[in-house]
Amino acid sequence: MKIIVLLKRVPDSEAKILINKEGTGIREDGVKFVINTYDEYAIEEGLLMKEKVGGDSKVTVVCMGPDEATEAIRTALAMGADDAVHIADDSLSNPGPFTTATIMAKAIGDEEFDIIFCGKQAIDDDMAQVHCILAEMLDIPQVSVAIAFELSDDTTKATVSRRIEGGDEKIDTSLPVIVSCDKGLNDPRYASLPGIMKAKKKEIRKKSLADLGFSEIPGGGRSRILKWLPLPKGGECRMVEAEETPDAVRELVRLLREEAKVI
């Protein structure tokens, strides 16, 4: 079984994100970049499927990002992925979902695959679109926000649970398929020390846009960001105090009913 995992390098979830001086994006200096949180579930699910099916199964990581993204790729290889394609091109900065999907479709088109796993969204632009657009371009089905993935014994089908409002939706899908992964799908393994050792020898195939046959950035020019806005400052908190707790609670209930009008 050939499995592809899509990877993105994003600011650490704990990082403080500030708008740059020009107001055209975020300040990157001092921000730690890591593997996108949800992509870790994708890597783990890929490795689980590889282990389950066995034989000549293989997990290939596909990552689009700057040269510095090799550390994220290397971490995925240390977790157990077999090899990687790294699409890096100086002309690519903050590509939109169509640009990313078009380039990835081309890169993936050159690979064999049965399943593509990716994170449910990247925690930088939070679009959650690439996997759907990619699915359409590759003409395969998609399942978004998976929390359980079960491969059929003959490895031609899968049953996937995805989280929806108020329940879990079960989806039957044929393979090949692209599945976006949510927290809860699995418990991503650590990159073990032997894994880190082995990762050094694994191949990362680096590709530029020209290598993939693009003479210019595809899929762009669809939207523009007009403004970057910080979060509105929180209002003053009104502390409800009283000698006895029940009195404070009664006052709170009055405020919620009469002032805030929410109950």
Binding site: T70, E71, R74, T75, A78, Y190, A191, S192, L193, P194, G195, I196, M197, A199, K200
Partner: protein, 387 residues
């Protein structure tokens, strides 16, 4: 010498950090409150390769250097300093001694079991009248055919009750001046071995400290490490590794002290403002952070020197002396910033305050480090004048 970490070193650091913050953190309160050595944590650490990280692949290790071990110990100590003790002793003393001085057979017999974590390595040197003074070891080992018979006891032995392999330094010939000691690899099920008193300590409670009792304990002669009479050389030759481990542990404790102090000072209000906005707090934070940075440079550099195969006893002692000192200052100041609640078990700093004290004691007291450093310095000056 560059102190910037390589990609590989950052990855090792990240694995150690993630594991400590998730798996160790989940049990840290319980294990330190009830004095529980977490077998499960060591099993997982072994699976991730941490129990053989500096050993070559042929013995089931990963072949990383001392700096990688330092990074791992620092991250583990940020969450649970006691957990780092067994990892440090196992890697920097036991594995190292068997690998460096043991016979080929002994390496094949023990290293695979140790790198896989099946057997936890323990180091037994200290006696009631010997410790910093290695030469004073009096536990006796008498040759009897193909065996040695060990008699006496070792005290304050970390993780002694969890041992798979114990390196014991004993006296084989009281008459010889420097060749009177011999190192043995002892297994806990050898006849005549038993666990004595279990200590109740001030801190480091998730690591056990016990007395080991040897009553006509019979050890095969093939379990002599190196040759008979090499014990002193082995004990002195493995000091550096053990000390770097404690220096790394100190970094972790100091860093957590700073983290906790800043976190607390930003939230706690007194006299209408956050205490982080008082200059007295700011100065403490600046001093702590500067000391930690300086200590980290010393420790990482000492580890890099050791990895390069250079003589580094002076640098290692400086790193251990300084890092253990500033760790104690950091927990002191951090607890002071916490005020009264810092003295309660509700806050992490109380545990780190207790854990820090031993840093200046074990693996060579601060006084011993100063002796090593000054001796080396004076030697350097003498060489200058001679030249």
């Amino acid at each position: 010498m560059c102190i910037e970490l390589t990609e590989e070193e950052r990855m090792i650091q990240k694995t150690a950090r993630d594991f400590a913050r998730k798996d160790i953190a989940a049990v840290v309160e319980e294990s330190n409150r009830n004095g529980v050595f977490q077998d499960d944590i060591y099993r997982k650490l072994s699976e991730l390769g941490f129990m053989g990280m500096t050993m070559p692949e042929e013995y089931g290790g990963v072949g990383f250097g001392n700096l990688c071990l330092v990074l791992a110990l620092e991250e583990i100590s940020r969450v649970c300093p006691s957990t780092a003790i067994a990892v440090s002793v196992h890697n920097s003393l036991t594995n190292h001694i068997i690998f460096r001085w043991g016979s080929g057979d002994l390496k094949k017999k023990y290293l695979p079991r140790m790198t896989s974590g099946e057997a936890i390595g323990v180091y037994a040197l200290t006696e009631p009248n010997a410790g910093s003074d290695v030469a004073a070891v009096r536990m006796s080992a008498v040759r009897d055919g193909n065996e040695y018979v060990l008699n006496g006891s070792k005290i304050l032995i970390s993780t002694g009750d969890k041992a798979g392999v114990i390196i014991v330094i004993a006296c084989t010939d009281p008459e010889k001046r420097t060749r009177h000691l011999t190192a043995f690899a002892v297994e806990p099920d050898f006849p005549g071995f038993s666990i004595g008193k279990i200590e109740h300590k001030m801190g480091m409670k998730a690591s056990t400290t016990v007395e080991l009792v040897f009553e006509d304990c019979r050890v095969p002669a093939s379990n002599v490490i190196g040759k008979e009479g090499r014990g002193m050389q082995i004990a002195l030759g493995s000091l550096d590794g053990g000390r770097i481990g404690i220096a790394a542990q100190s970094l972790g404790i100091a860093q957590t002290a700073l983290d906790e102090a800043v976190l607390f000072a930003r939230e706690r209000q007194q006299f209408g403002k956050r205490i982080v906005d008082f200059q007295a707090t700011r100065w403490k934070i600046a001093d702590m952070a500067t000391n930690i940075e300086a200590a980290r440079l010393l420790v990482y550099r000492a580890a890099r020197l050791r990895d390069a195969g250079r003589a580094c006893s002076k640098e290692v002692s400086m790193a251990k002396l300084f890092a253990s000192r500033i760790a104690n200052e950091a927990v002191y100041d951090a607890l002071q910033i916490h005020g009264g609640v810092g003295y309660t078990e509700e806050f992490k700093i109380e545990r780190f305050f207790r854990d820090a004290r031993v840093l200046e004691i074990y693996e060579g007291t601060s006084e011993i480090q100063r002796i090593v450093i000054s001796k080396k310095i004076l030697e350097e000056y003498e060489q200058m004048y001679l030249a």
